[in-house]
Point group: C2
Chain length 249, copies 2
């Protein structure tokens, strides 16, 4: 008698930004597995459940524990912030599960991409790339090649994992490469802890971006050549200005 | 006495994939503005409200109507599917609102990116780009340059608006460019109407992708050089295989 495994994205961290499906899956689960900081975000929902908490670097341990409990017959939620499908644990779950016939369901959540964009205004109205600066699992040469390609082809660039204790200087490298292709006054949005207690939001420029607090709970969005700042908001036009005169009726 | 405007993402379309905040904003609003197909997705929530519906190409009309009603004192939700911050109406709202001091809040939703990824498995575990093939607002040369850059730098590629009546052949061009840099057996996921009635899901290859139904309610994800298909799921490894032996405990 097998259980099932939900790989649940709880969004940026507030209860309000969870989907109804995520809430239902967690309520329905007997076992909740997650990184302890994510579990803290859903503290009020854990009463009466078996909770398996593990550190950030023990991702594979969390995944194995979740699969084992599900195979032992329990309904299990493996919880992560944002969307488990974007740099999240969904891939590792399928890799470890192999050809197991366990019922596994990915429950998408509001990604950091979406939540940070909403906090900044509307920077993602045109083509964009998402790049992680962590070189623990991807070699830095490959990351640099991608930054270069994105900068050259005028994509808006979303940066995940901009700075960690084991990759302190990749962000400086990122900025150098961007500056080869975009002017120093290109708008840059920096969001820490979107929708959580202590949320910070800065709109700055490529020139000045390094003078702000940036760490592992920060997401950065660099505008394309048309992105502008207006009324404290970062906006990338989709191109409507070419088709319509934009004015009040 | 001004009202306020919520720019609300309702996610892929099922009630279950809406966030609690999106539900609350719609409930709280006296006026709901949206494209008629999106409004149909939340039919059960519209009783007793003023509903302003408009066609797909009348985006600017919807935005103006929403702003006018909010400035007249109403609480208004301008509703869209997915996330209004990703190729959505959030940008146009800020462009038209200009320096108005109206309270405007973007309510992020589960994007097509996230919902299609969840339906396919875990294709977005590594760096990716998002490209729209609609050349109505961006010139095709710029789009081609971006496709080329993304293909060359080994990004996973998410395609929005793959085919419309006014841009029938851009997808063929997209495939040609991708095939210059990736083998014909590169995994491609095609999702129509994710999480809606009539959902379709195909995992195919670059070689065969054009033989499947693709239209404006389709999102396509093309894998990078490491993406594989296993147990009917499309998975891009994050790189864990270099650090850990992945096996059951």
């Amino acid at each position: 008698m097998k259980g099932k495994l939900y790989v649940v994205g709880i969004g940026p961290g507030g209860r309000e930004q969870m989907t109804l499906e995520a809430v239902r899956c967690i309520e329905e689960s007997e076992v909740i597995v997650g990184y302890h900081l994510y579990l803290r975000l859903i503290e009020g929902m854990l009463a009466g459940k078996t909770v398996i908490s593990a550190g950030m670097t023990e991702e594979i341990g969390r995944v194995r524990a979740a699969l084992e409990m599900a195979e032992a017959g329990y309904t299990v939620s493996l919880v992560s912030s944002g969307d488990p499908g974007i740099y999240g644990l969904a891939g590792l779950v399928f890799q470890v599960a192999g050809d197991s016939n366990l019922e596994i369901r990915v429950v998408p959540g509001v990604s950091a991409l979406s939540s940070c964009s909403a906090v900044l205004g509307a920077p993602l109205m045109n083509d964009f790339v998402c790049i992680s600066l962590s070189d623990m699992l991807t070699p830095m040469e490959k990351i640099e090649e991608r930054i270069e390609a994105a900068a050259r082809a005028d994509f808006v660039v979303v940066v995940y994992n901009p700075k960690g204790s084991r990759f302190e200087h990749n962000l400086e490298r990122f900025r150098e490469i961007m500056l080869r292709h975009r002017p120093p006054d290109t708008p840059v949005g920096i969001v820490r802890k979107a929708y959580r207690e202590g949320e910070e939001r800065v709109i700055t420029t490529l020139a000045d971006m390094l003078s702000h607090r940036i760490d592992m709970v920060t997401t950065i969005i660099v505008g394309n050549s048309n992105t502008f700042v207006s009324g404290g908001r970062m906006v990338t036009p989709r191109g409507y200005e070419n088709k319509y005169r934009i004015e009040r009726a």
